[in-house]
Amino acid sequence: MKKISTGNKAVAEAVKQVVPAVVAAYPITPQTEIVEQIAEFVSSGDLKSRYIAVESEHSAMAACIGASVTGIRTFTATSSHGLLYMHEMTNWAAGARLPIVMANVNRSLGPGWNIWAEHTDALQERDTGWLQVYVSTVQEAYDATIMAFRIAEHNDVLLPVMVNLDGFLLSHLMQPLDTIEVGDFVPPCHLPHAIDVKNPKGYGGLTGPDQQFRFRWDMERSIRDSAKVIKETEKEFAKRFGRTYGFTDDYQCADADVIIVAMGTLGKEAEVAVDLLRKEGIKAGSMRLRWLRPFPKLDLKGKQVVVIDRDYSFGRGGILAIEIMAQTKEEVFSVIAGLGGQEITYEDVADFVRNRRMGEEFWFGVTNNV
């Protein structure tokens, strides 16, 4: 069914399709509309879920963990400080191998209080064992949320999945949305290690130095295996519903000399910039990174790479740039842009390419930096 929706409402619509038995969530700008819409669906009876209005994000994730381990489907949503507040529990959820799905509306971190888009919140969760996907349109937010449940609950994965959408730029953006009937695309949740009082087991108790690393390795093995599951899920989604996704969303990359790599809505701006640059005779392409974890093998051989980071690791650099430099020998021009919602147009992105200085880092908008 076609309608007009915000990114937030699209996530809630997706959740309505897959009917988690328990949703535990806490409001935070700019995520609030997701939980309001889910509460509305539950209240009107359109969604047969239990909605736990917890008193904090730490408790939101703890409640999802407690619910998920009984073998049922769970969902939560957060942003920024909410995500950081649940950091202890995001580690627990992944280590406990629970297929929790969470929408994170990417927002800057304080101080000062800044509610606008930035990716540093989710990137500080990079090493927790969560799968992370970044979306760029309202439709993609919807589709990725639905697929996230199938991927997380796949018995070769059993790891939580975080769907990231840019605060305001996508969460509050109105775009066309084509909703689907999911049917058996997301099969019923089956958790092999669900709590069973008839077969009592201890969960997450004392684990010695002779065992803990085995559990970590098992997580790593599963997140590697998840790449296959993601591919298979996206292929099946395309077959059933006609929309195609991949680890990256490539635009004019094949013959490009210079490739722009970015995540989220910036990755879409980059496509417009590519058109501009091509008119000027610069053979540019755009590779919008969708999945950060598991990190895909990027085909950048022989290209100049302009990486735009809406995030930063102090004392080291743009996080995406670091990830890419660790994988490829090609030269990278690292642009730090869009922090705390700083406005960037496709013209600015085109400028990054025109004025690129390979091997260097550039903070957009900072005086004497160019």
């Binding site: 904090s56 730490h58 049922i72 009082v197």
Partner: protein, 318 residues
């Protein structure tokens, strides 16, 4: 070497428990079925394991324990073994109530009546876990929250908690605590749960009855168990039951139930109100109160008297 030590501890403890059991074997309503198996890694004389033994006997096999960081996360054993014969979900320190809240909702959504018991220490309840607990009670979560209170952070080696009484020495209050014990029961009462009670590991029959009763209510219920701790309170290991009884007899610990707001003080505490033993009899055997300032003892006595008067008045009024 480690194994030898452990078996010694286990033997010593089983003797204490056995001695205690002879009395209880004559009480028909307490099931013989054990949910705490042999060879836990608890300290000798641990009254947490004693209390939990009767909690689980009352709750039965259709029960899940949610345990945050505390002594109970340690004593259940090391992977791949566990000494507990019900499912135990271990969770981070601050989140027992929140985790149990999610679990209870999930079970109820699936039409299951499984008991969900959050079983946390005083640190995990009065301090770091209080926000999640308050939230779970406010939301009317269908679960039983048990705080077993050994009045300090036990498994990290006895640091001060909100549950540590005035004057007690801990590793972070080497000259004795200068602040009063937090009244968590009053905080719980402010949430107006259908049922709350205090208990003591030294009175397992009373504890058994209270757990059995708590699990008949729908909604959040709370039991606060005083759990004397030999290494923490610094008394000899065979005296755990005696220490619990002295706590009640001196009025330092009061046994009561509050059912839909109606308070009933237990018979043991009624006797203590009528004719309490001197507080010094409770303090003297405990190394943690060694050298306590007489002025501090006076303040403790005044606080006991005030608390007993308050509870007596509340019982009379209800």
């Amino acid at each position: 070497m480690i194994n030898n030590d452990r078996s010694l501890i286990a033997t010593e403890r089983s003797l204490i428990v056995h001695h205690h059991l002879q009395e209880l074997d004559t009480i028909p309503e307490i099931p013989k079925e054990e949910f705490i198996l042999k060879c836990t890694s608890a300290c000798a004389g641990c009254s947490d394991s004693l209390a939990l033994r009767y909690v689980l006997k009352a709750a039965g096999p259709d029960t899940v324990l949610v345990v945050p960081a505390c002594c109970t996360s340690v004593i259940q054993g090391i992977y791949p073994n566990t000494a507990f014969n019900v499912p135990v979900y271990n969770i981070a320190f601050a989140s027992a109530a929140a985790c149990a809240s999610g679990m209870s909702n999930a079970f109820r959504a699936a039409g299951k009546k499984t008991n969900v018991i959050a079983y946390a220490g005083d640190g995990g309840t009065l301090d770091i876990g209080i926000q999640a607990m308050s939230g779970a009670f406010e939301r009317g979560t269908d679960f039983l929250y048990i705080c077993y209170d050994n009045e300090a952070y036990g498994n990290t080696g006895m640091q001060r908690s909100g549950g540590t009484p005035l004057g007690a020495r801990t590793t972070t209050t080497p000259s004795g605590k200068t602040d009063n014990k937090k009244d968590i029961d009053a905080i719980i009462a402010a949430h107006d749960p259908p049922y709350q009670a205090t208990a003591c590991a030294a009175y397992p029959q009373d504890l058994f009855k209270k757990v059995t009763k708590a699990l008949t209510f729908r909604g959040p219920t709370f039991i606060h168990i005083l759990a004397p701790c030999p290494p923490g309170w610094r008394y000899s290991t065979e005296k755990s039951v005696e220490m619990g009884k002295l706590a009640v007899k001196s009025g330092m610990w009061v046994l009561y139930e509050r059912e839909y707001g109606k308070l009933t003080i237990g018979a043991q505490s009624k006797a203590a109100i009528k004719k309490p033993i001197p507080l010094e009899e409770y303090l003297a055997p405990q190394g943690r109160f060694k050298g306590i300032d007489p002025k501090t003892v006076e303040i403790l006595k005044q606080r006991i008297a005030k608390n007993l008067a308050k509870l007596t008045a509340e019982e009379a009024a209800s």
